[in-house]
């Protein structure tokens, strides 16, 4: 038993073995309480009321924004835009920056590992603007190597989309190298840190990223709150995304001027309780410390990798080099479909993800339909891994006799 499980009401004293934190993490009590407290003590429409309660709600919201800005080390608070999730943030970038700036024959370069949310919007905008969409492919080790990056990010590239960690393969990408390369040809870089931010810090100034997105719910925050970071000069020159209340300055019958950052991109009443929950999640991560988090998680995921490697009927889809691998491990059991594996693990209360993980182009590139995916958090233990391995052995022994018949 790991003490951190006690921080999470759903895991504490429960028989659930949760190995799907990459889909969404469980929530610590402090985050649940923070949202609860907001509704009990501060709830009012932010920015819209002149009375004290509304002012308090506004100040909680601004405090959350400031906390996120510090967390990412952004220069200005107004570089932080709250969204519903990473998907909305990525659509915002494609539909404003992409639509405004891409010209015919410009190139958009994505990695083949991108989640559909950083791929489908670019497909749509590229088609609309007659721009070219190209992919950086992974090598045999499931990694994006420098040669491939150099080959694809060339003159004419205007936008590069890259995830910091693959939600399927766990591959850690060399974001600083990609950004340097992209900037050398005049391209802007959209970094999707959804899958890494629960495990390792991200510094927008040190990396010089142009846009950064993540969802709060994968880093112990509540569902329904996400973040877009953009460099101030970029955001200032972009068209707004959604139109409506709070994002305007003057509205006439036939024309409108827009509010300054960050409000220009936050139309309508915002999820303030979610922002407060996210701020609390950040403080929770910081109270444990990324170093502690990383050391616990590395030990567990390396243990899982080595235990799974021992099973001859398991094929792993992740980098062998542990320094290139985050807390996600994809695998298949020979002859058994991932959905059957997942259903049978569920009989032992083990939650894993099975499917294409919103990355169909990657699956097609790998020549498979789906994988089983486990993903770890510091609340997981070696015992969780042991239980997984026992259950997998049990599944294989049940299936084995039928698999032999098939051959």
């Amino acid at each position: 038993m790991n003490d951190y499980k006690n921080d999470f009401p759903l895991l504490k004293d429960s028989n659930i073995i949760y190995l799907d934190s990459g889909a969404t993490s469980q929530k610590p009590l402090c985050v649940i309480d923070a949202e609860d407290e907001f509704y009990k003590k501060y709830n009012a429409n932010p920015y819209r009321g002149a009375y004290d309660l509304s002012v308090k709600a506004t100040s909680k919201y601004n405090e959350a924004r400031h906390e996120v800005a510090k967390f990412l080390n952004s220069k200005y608070d107004e570089e932080i835009i709250f969204t519903k999730n990473a998907t909305e943030a990525l659509n915002l970038i494609a539909y404003t920056y992409g639509l405004d700036n891409l010209q015919q024959n410009d190139k958009v370069v994505l990695s083949i590992m991108e989640h559909h949310s950083n791929l489908v919007p670019w497909q749509k905008i590229s088609k609309q603007k007659n721009a070219k969409l190209e992919y950086m492919y992974i090598n045999k080790n499931f990694e994006l190597d420098k040669e491939e990056i150099d080959k694809k990010i060339t003159k004419g590239t205007k936008v590069v989309g890259i995830l910091s960690v693959s939600n399927v393969l766990g591959t850690i990408n060399d974001i600083e190298y990609i950004i340097k390369k992209a900037h050398s040809v005049g391209a802007k870089v959209v970094v999707d840190i959804s899958q890494s931010i629960a495990h390792m810090p991200f510094d927008v100034q040190k990396t010089d990223a142009d846009f950064v997105v993540f969802s709060g719910h994968k880093m112990y925050g509540p569902l329904g709150i996400g973040v877009l970071y953009g460099k101030k000069e970029l955001l200032e020159n972009m068209s707004p995304f959604l139109m409506g209340g709070d994002m305007i300055e003057y509205v006439y019958e036939q024309s409108t001027t827009y509010a300054p950052l960050p409000h220009k991109f936050e139309a309508g009443t915002q999820n303030v309780a979610g922002a407060v929950g996210l701020m609390t999640a950040i403080k929770y991560i910081q109270s444990i410390g990324y170093q502690t988090i990383e050391s616990i998680e590395k030990a567990i995921s390396n243990y899982a990798y080595s235990e799974l490697s021992k099973l001859p009927y398991i094929e792993l889809y992740c980098p062998k080099d542990e320094t290139k691998r985050s807390e996600v491990i994809s695998f298949n059991m020979k002859g058994i479909h991932p959905h059957d594996v997942s259903t049978m693990l569920d009989f032992s209360h083990i939650c894993i993800r099975a499917g294409n993980h919103c990355a169909q182009p990657l699956m097609r590139y790998l020549g498979i339909d789906s994988t089983c995916r486990i993903s770890f958090s510091f609340y997981n233990t070696k015992e969780d891994v042991d239980n997984l391995v026992i259950a997998l052995k049990g599944i294989y022994s049940k299936f084995e006799k039928y698999i032999k018949v098939a051959k």
Binding site: H337, D340, D346, F347, K398, Y402
Partner: protein
């Protein structure tokens, strides 16, 4: 793993791993693809009609044990039936999956397909078990037969 035996019965496992119906048939009257985008299950049904009777049926494709065995057992259940009979049996099967109670007569019509009764307790797998049945149902409805 008692639940395993309830769900992955010998019959289901044999059909999923070693189905005699997984093949192409000679000059099928029609064929139709079915797809579950979330799981990637894909099947293609081939039907050979003799008047309004299903003379033969087969499938190709890939997916989980539930989708593959359900397809194969459906084929056994409906082979030789008229189109009207087939539509009726499909409706009964879908009713079973929705956990509505069936009369003994209806249960008899389902033959081996009754093996999937327990899947109705697993909402996450309903799409897999229904794939072939819905695909065939669409085909019958589209053809107005």
């Amino acid at each position: 793993m008692e639940q395993f035996d309830d769900m992955y019965t010998d019959l289901i496992m044999e059909h999923s791993m070693n189905s005699p119906n997984k093949k192409n048939i000679d000059s099928p009257t029609c064929s139709l693809k079915g797809h579950n985008p979330n799981c990637g299950d894909e099947i293609e049904l081939e039907v050979k009609l003799d008047g309004d009777k299903i003379e033969d049926m087969s499938f190709v494709g890939h997916g989980c044990a539930i989708s593959q065995s359900s397809t194969s057992i459906m084929i056994d259940t409906l082979r030789g039936k008229t189109l009207t009979e087939a539509k009726n049996i499909i409706a009964i099967f879908l009713k079973m999956i929705r956990r509505e109670s069936l009369t003994n007569e209806e249960k008899d019509l389902l033959k081996d397909s009754i093996a999937f009764e327990n899947i109705s307790n697993m909402p996450a797998r309903v799409k897999c078990v229904e794939l072939a049945w819905r695909t065939l149902d669409d085909m019958l409805n589209k053809k107005n037969i």
